[in-house]
């Protein structure tokens, strides 16, 4: 279980998150939605110590982690993997070496053992034939799948996806959606997905929280969102250009 309690975060004079609180149920596919720049990515980075809140608490499986230092964050990052928006594979390493890196660092495996395990992990995302290729040689969808394989190597309980379907073609995007759903259904992994891809949201989300102007505007299931009379939420989920939604 993950709990965000009264998170406040500012960058200089700009307050991005204002008293954000919600719980993420274990085993669910949990979407965080909202306009670009509203602080969705900023929020999930707090969970793994890539950012620290100005105030508020973050609880992970009964432990308050918002003030953990880099060393204490090690086990948290092993438990909560992250797939970044632009895949962030290391260009100087092959796909197999990219996937092997967390195995070597988190699990202390030898290079040979890590590479063997990495190839197996690439097979799961159907990328085994590209194991010895470098990331710049691959398309966006392929890189995303390698990034997902890298995130899953340490067998995390939680996976944070930062806009996983952005810049992907529709077929690749739906494959990524299916993979996220499978993780939850078959392995019991909790997925926190930052997205504004409406197709993804309304096909695989168990719970959704919407951030608007730095605050939680609404939290609920897919049907709750579809049925809400809130004009701001309705405008966002229907993608209308005019209405009460302010950027």
């Amino acid at each position: 279980m993950i709990q965000f309690k009264n998170i406040i975060k500012s960058f200089g004079p700009k307050t991005v998150l204002q008293d954000v609180s919600f719980d993420v149920p274990t085993g669910s596919v949990f979407f965080i939605i909202g306009a670009s720049g509203v602080g969705k990515s900023v929020l999930i980075k707090h969970l793994v110590g890539l950012l620290y809140p100005d105030s508020g608490e973050i609880w992970l499986d009964g432990q308050e982690i918002s003030r953990f230092d880099e060393v204490q964050m090690g086990p948290v990052r092993k438990k909560c993997a992250m797939v970044f928006q632009h895949s962030t594979l290391f260009d100087s390493m092959t796909c197999a070496e990219n996937v092997a890196l967390p195995l070597r660092k988190h699990k202390n495996l030898s290079l040979k053992a890590a590479l063997a395990e990495a190839r197996h992990r690439l097979e799961i995302v159907r990328m085994q034939e590209f194991a010895d290729r470098y990331p710049p040689e691959l398309g966006d969808g392929m890189r995303k799948r390698v990034a997902i394989a890298r995130a899953l190597t340490v067998d995390p309980s939680y996976v944070l996806f930062d806009e996983p379907t952005t810049s992907l073609d529709p077929v690749s995007a739906r494959r990524v959606d299916a993979l996220i759903r499978e993780l939850s259904d078959k392995l019991g992994v909790t997925s926190i997905v930052v997205s504004h891809d409406l197709t993804s949201i309304f096909s695989i989300a168990d719970r959704i929280v919407m951030l608007y102007r730095g605050k939680v505007r609404m939290e609920g299931g897919r049907q709750d969102f579809k049925a809400t009379p809130d004009g701001v939420v309705q405008q966002f989920i229907t993608g209308r250009a005019t209405g009460p939604f302010e950027l």
Partner: protein, 276 residues
């Protein structure tokens, strides 16, 4: 530097409303914070050099990038600098004592004690320092540094350490090579411009162990300063491509400053320990 995510932090100008004295004080505090973080990068690099795991091939790759790829640039620049220095020195000598017998010996002492290391390192700062800052800065703005941290790989261990070790080795070797090129270029300049025989120019009488010790100390100090300062500039990048541009500029400026300041202190210490 390691606790935030610089690429998401907007550029603000907090000193604008403070007035002259306040802005000066704020700038001094910023300088102190920067110095502390730079020191922290240096100490953590030494820590990982002592106990971190070696990445296979990383050191060799960086030695190639820093060393082999700088040889042509450094040879050309130091060759021309050597020619200019000897030509100018010859002109000055002609006015005062029209005798060139010690031109090579004094030039060699100057090269070994100071110029080869300092000028060579300044040249390296522009090529190597800018490259390190741009590469690491790009990794910051594309979240690759965050991804490294998520993989339990400390960016200092993974990125700065191999560059630090490679720079220590290759800066020393490059400076020895660059000094040789500058000396040979100077010898031919003296031969063609002032008819100084090559065997007269190749005179090592004035170079002693103190000069060698000072020169080598500078090589090591500059070799350490270039990756640490430029790596720190890269890691403290914020914003997008504009931020990477600023990081690169700061790396060249700050590395050059570090070299000049180190030169002052090492030369000062050298004159105390090994008086001429």
């Amino acid at each position: 530097m390691t606790t935030g995510n610089p690429q998401t932090e907007p550029i603000d100008h907090p000193h604008e409303e403070l007035g002259a004295v306040g802005a000066l004080g704020a700038a001094a505090i910023d300088l102190l914070i920067g110095a502390r973080e730079l020191y922290s990068v240096f100490v953590r690099t030494l820590y990982y050099v002592a106990r971190g795991r070696r990445e296979k091939g990383a050191l060799a790759r960086q030695m190639y990038e820093i060393g082999n790829r700088s040889i042509f640039f450094l040879s050309i620049t130091m060759g021309f600098i050597g020619m200019i220095l000897v030509y100018q020195a010859g002109l000055q000598a002609k006015r005062v004592v029209p005798d060139y017998t010690l031109l090579g010996a004094t030039y060699l002492e100057l090269l070994v004690r100071d110029f080869a290391a300092s000028l060579g390192a300044l040249m390296l700062a522009t090529r190597v320092g800018a490259g390190i800052a741009a590469e690491i800065g790009s990794m910051v703005v594309t979240e690759q540094i965050d991804a490294l941290r998520m993989c339990a790989a400390d960016p200092i261990d993974f990125l700065i350490k191999p560059r630090f070790l490679a720079s220590l080795i290759m800066t020393t070797m490059l400076i020895v090579w660059a000094g040789t090129v500058a000396f040979v270029a100077g010898a031919f300049t003296a031969y063609f411009a002032y008819d100084v025989p090559l065997q007269t120019f190749f005179n090592m009488a004035l170079v002693d162990s103190g000069d060698l010790a000072i020169g080598l100390t500078k090589c090591v100090a500059y070799g350490a300063a270039i990756p640490i300062v430029s790596g720190y500039c890269g890691l403290s990048t914020f914003g997008g491509s504009e931020g990477v541009g600023w990081a690169t500029t700061r790396a060249v400026v700050n590395t050059s400053l570090a070299i000049i300041i180190l030169n002052f202190f090492i030369s000062g210490a050298g004159f105390l320990i090994f008086p001429a």
